[in-house]
Amino acid sequence: MTTRVGVVTFPGSLDDRDAQRAVKLAGGEPVALWHGDKDLHQVDAVILPGGFSYGDYLRCGAIARFSPVMETIIDQARAGLPVLGICNGFQVLCESHLLPGALTRNDHLHFICRDQRLRVENAATAWTADYTAGQEITVPLKNGEGGYVADERTLDELEAEGRVVFRYLGGNPNGSRRDIAGITNEAGNVVGLMPHPEHAVEALTGPTIDGLGFFTSALRKLVA
């Protein structure tokens, strides 16, 4: 039986099809989930994709966070369901308080799209098991509000508990505190990051295929 990975579409989601393609290339079965439907249709994991849910009006992810599907996801995530939030999805996870901190306007005030080098700091989460700690990968980054902020105590806690999953290399692209590109919750099942692994799964269209590991990690973990 193949592993079913749900990809949520909110009004304004953009990279939902890309996330589905990445799941398929990794050998899983993508399942489209609709924001207005509370039912997760027996998926084994969920991806909150990139985009501009509700136009990113108010704050990125703020309106999407209150959608019916998120109610279920928040419950299930607390119970251990693997959840990956990419870019806008990361913002939704922070707004939902599944992950601490918040994402703010890039310090240079521009939207930025570039190929970004990252270091995998934690290879023990549900979504990074196929990497090794310290490994460097390059995947696209594209956002206008990607600056990760949290108070010092939270930052120290994240560091101490090894919950910083990715750090920017080769220049901080947005003013994120401590070069943080992605984090996880205490249990390691919920991961959020600003860069886009789903855009680095095919040599033809991505700068690398370094992103594939996210999706194979989750599948392997679930099958095991």
Binding site: P11, G12, R17, D18, F52, H110, T205
Partner: protein, 749 residues
């Protein structure tokens, strides 16, 4: 004053009307009266005045644009030709592609962010109205001098607006242009191109056939935006108690547009639509009259059912409003419920505002009273047509006589090297990364090539790898020297850019940006350019499928350079065989394809080094372009080249610099026999490209060129970490990169 009904208009033939303030000429107003057999109502006057404006009726350009149809080369690939919102091209495997370019110049000067954003919004709606899913956008831009203070206001706003809207819609930006020239100071050009993909059977045309079918307006509520000056006059003269402030600026809502795209594609997919039309310029006036006119002719609209954002709007204003993110569909009664259901799913407001009738009149009612009763064709398609006087400009001979041959050339190798650095760091030739980094090029996951490349390339079929490539080009300096040749050079360059990536050019869209048509010398430029483009399209076998005209780009007496921007679309059966521009592997040999002559009229060198514009632009040789294109496509198909970059402004050295920087590899260049280093590096002769040939493929490649009669000179090798022109100078890549990349951030960051 009370409602100006049809009956009231018939009863008060002598009531004064503000036709002049609305932009109509005396004889145009008289024609409206003649058509109707009475004076128009206020609402009718509003409709005629916007629909007969230059922008909507193409009244000055129509007689010239006809050539694109009359001289169109035969093409089996053309499924829908010129005349619809956008042409449709068959790319094989049952897939069709539609693409079009449009201008949003003036609004972007007034309010750069919103002007540019709504420019993207408008062109995207054109594409969805054809039934296609938009898959990419491009943005050819022109600004005033790079260091002018107002450019600091306009450029960052325009770029943020294009990014803000396009990124939020989820459309990758795959290319465009950025050109600076003082002639665009008060008239920046913001052109936007969108490309969409559909199945052959899904092509939808804008028409309202079938009496009883419902007319549904869906999308944003109608507000008072974009009515501008006309509305102030209209509402003041029709009813002076109304608040007269109507914003000329339209604000875009990309989120609403994203919903509109998904919702529209879903109603198409379920076959619920008989006819469809986007609301752009002239809003409901345009949509209702064009839908009716393209159908059987009759339509009845209850204007008071239109959902409003501002309840104080008068019927005239509702008809003229250019509120964004709206569409109009014609739907069979049996499908209406399902249509509304899908709209509700996407949170899109949808309202039945009328129906198709079996008459031949467009009738509009306001709270039960008739305020419009017109033959729709007379509004939409039978506007005035002018063959305006043309005169070859008096200054042209002097300009052409000012030959760049007289300009001093570099005296020694040190000066040559300095001029290369000056060229690659000049605003027009410098890296555009500061701009393009603000655009998402990855979304949708099908972008195979994006900036900086010769063309953008998108995969349209994941199974087979079928793809399309698009490039846009235009050189106002060339066109100023010779508009006929200038338009052809724009086409030739875009064609060459598409071929350089390995795609076969198929079709053309164009945006003709000119000054005032009432100036005979501008009109002459326009006539020359359209004639040149039509002739060249015929020779190259690439029909014009659609486009846009933007006139009155003029400050006082001074018009912009004539600026025809040409977009070429090509097809490639497997995107895995694309040819990128980066030099990637040391040891590969570099060949210069084509002939290099001493041609510097309108060149980047003459502009950067001497601030000069004069002489004649480089010679056009379309047969050569076609041959070069064939060689580039064959070489890509047979794996004979690893990189290709077309030569255009800045010449060979600019192209080599870009390919080296992109690939992180240096190059050793040798000046071929019969050329001096200066001409070799800077000449802008057309029909040329530089290619990198892998070791072992040289013989096969050069034999092919020789057999087909294309000159191919070995000019160097990929090697090291500098550009070295043997016997002249060496330029380390680091120094080159710094010079190339610092310019725009220094000006605008």
């Amino acid at each position: 004053m009370s409602l100006d009904t049809v009956k009231h208009a018939a009863d008060t033939p002598e009531a004064p009307q503000p036709w002049a303030e609305l932009g109509l000429k005396r004889d145009e107003y008289d024609r409206v009266r003649e058509i109707l057999g009475r004076r128009p109502t206020g609402a009718e006057l509003a409709m005629y005045s916007v629909m007969w404006s230059e922008h909507c009726s193409y009244k000055s350009s129509k007689v010239h644009l006809r050539q694109f149809g009359d001289k169109a080369p035969h093409s089996d690939a053309l499924l829908v030709g010129i005349g619809e919102q956008a042409g449709v091209v068959d790319v094989g495997r049952g897939i069709a592609v539609t693409f079009k370019i449009e201008s949003h110049n003036h609004p972007s000067y007034v309010e750069p962010y919103q002007g540019a954003a709504t420019g993207i919004g408008g062109i995207v709606r054109d594409i969805i109205a054809m039934g296609a899913r938009p898959v990419a956008v491009m943005d050819p831009l022109r600004f005033g001098a790079a260091d002018h203070p107002d450019t600091r206001r306009v450029l960052p706003g325009v770029v943020a607006g294009i990014g803000g809207y396009g990124n939020c819609l989820g459309l990758p930006n795959i290319g465009g242009e950025v050109v600076f020239d003082p002639c665009y100071q008060g008239n920046p050009l913001v052109n936007a191109l969108c490309v969409g993909v559909m199945k052959h059977e899904d092509i939808h045309l804008a028409k309202a056939a079938g009496a009883g079918n419902k007319v549904i307006l869906y999308g944003a509520r109608t507000g008072g935006d974009g009515i501008g000056g006309a509305s102030i006059l209209a509402s003041e003269s029709f009813d002076s108690t109304k608040p007269s402030k109507r914003p000329a600026v339209q604000v875009g809502d990309p989120f609403q547009e994203k919903l509109l795209i998904e919702c529209t594609l879903e109603v198409f997919a379920e076959g619920l639509v008989t006819g469809i039309q986007d609301l752009g310029a002239a809003g409901l006036s345009c949509a209702t009259s064009e839908l009716a006119s393209n159908g059987s002719g009759g339509m009845r609209v209850e204007l008071d059912t239109v959902p409003l954002r501002d309840s104080s709007l008068s019927p005239e204003e509702i008809l003229m409003s250019e509120s964004q993110e709206r569409m109009c569909a014609v739907v069979e009664p049996a499908n209406v419920d399902r249509f509304l259901e899908i709209c509700a799913k996407w949170d899109v407001i949808a309202t039945v505002i009328g129906e198709v009738t079996d008459g031949d009149r467009l009738e509009i009612f306001w709270h039960g009273e008739q305020i419009v009763d017109v033959p729709p064709r007379t509004v939409a398609h039978e506007g005035p047509v002018y063959d305006r006087p043309q005169a070859r400009p008096a200054w042209l001979d002097a300009l052409r006589a000012d030959d760049p041959a007289a300009l001093p050339r570099p005296a020694d190798d040190a000066e040559l090297r300095a001029q290369v650095l000056a060229l690659v760091s000049s605003p027009n030739q410098a890296s555009k990364a500061w701009i393009t980094a603000q655009y998402d090029r990855y979304v949708l996951g099908n972008t195979v090539l994006a900036q900086p490349e010769d063309s953008g390339m998108i995969r349209v079929d994941e199974e087979s790898g079928l793809g399309v490539a698009i490039a846009t080009d235009g050189n106002g300096r060339y066109a100023k020297l010779d508009p006929y040749a200038g338009a052809q050079l724009a086409l030739a360059e875009a064609y060459r850019n598409v071929a350089a990536t390995g795609a076969t050019p198929l079709a053309v869209t164009d945006c003709l940006n000119f000054g005032s048509p009432e100036d005979p010398s501008v009109m002459w430029q326009f006539a020359e350019a359209t004639r040149g483009l039509a002739d060249a399209c015929l020779t190259l076998g690439t029909p014009v499928t659609g486009g846009n005209v933007s006139l009155y780009n003029q400050t006082g007496e001074a018009a912009i350079h004539p600026t025809p921007v040409v977009g070429v679309l090509g097809v490639i059966d497997d995107v895995a065989r694309r040819t990128p521009m980066a030099f990637r592997e040391a040891g590969q040999l570099l060949y210069l394809l084509g002939d290099t002559a001493d041609e510097f009229g309108g060149s980047a060198w003459s502009q950067v080094v001497h601030g000069h514009l004069g002489g004649l632009p480089p010679k056009v040789d379309l047969e050569r372009e076609r041959l070069l294109g064939e060689i580039l496509v064959s070489a890509s198909r047979d794996g004979m080249i690893d990189a290709a970059h077309d030569l255009s402004d800045g010449g060979l050295v600019q192209a080599v610099a870009e390919s080296c920087l992109k690939g992180g590899q240096g190059a050793r260049l040798v000046v071929p026999d019969g050329l001096d280093a200066f001409t070799f590096l800077f000449s802008e002769s057309t029909g040329r490209a530089v290619v990198a040939v892998p070791r072992g493929e040289e013989v096969r490649f050069t034999d092919m060129c020789a057999a087909r009669g294309l000159p191919a000179a070995r000019v160097g090798v990929i090697d090291g970490d500098a550009i070295e022109v043997q016997g002249a100078f060496t330029l380390p890549l680091d120094e080159l990169r710094e010079a190339h990349e610092r310019t725009l951030p220094a000006l605008f960051a």
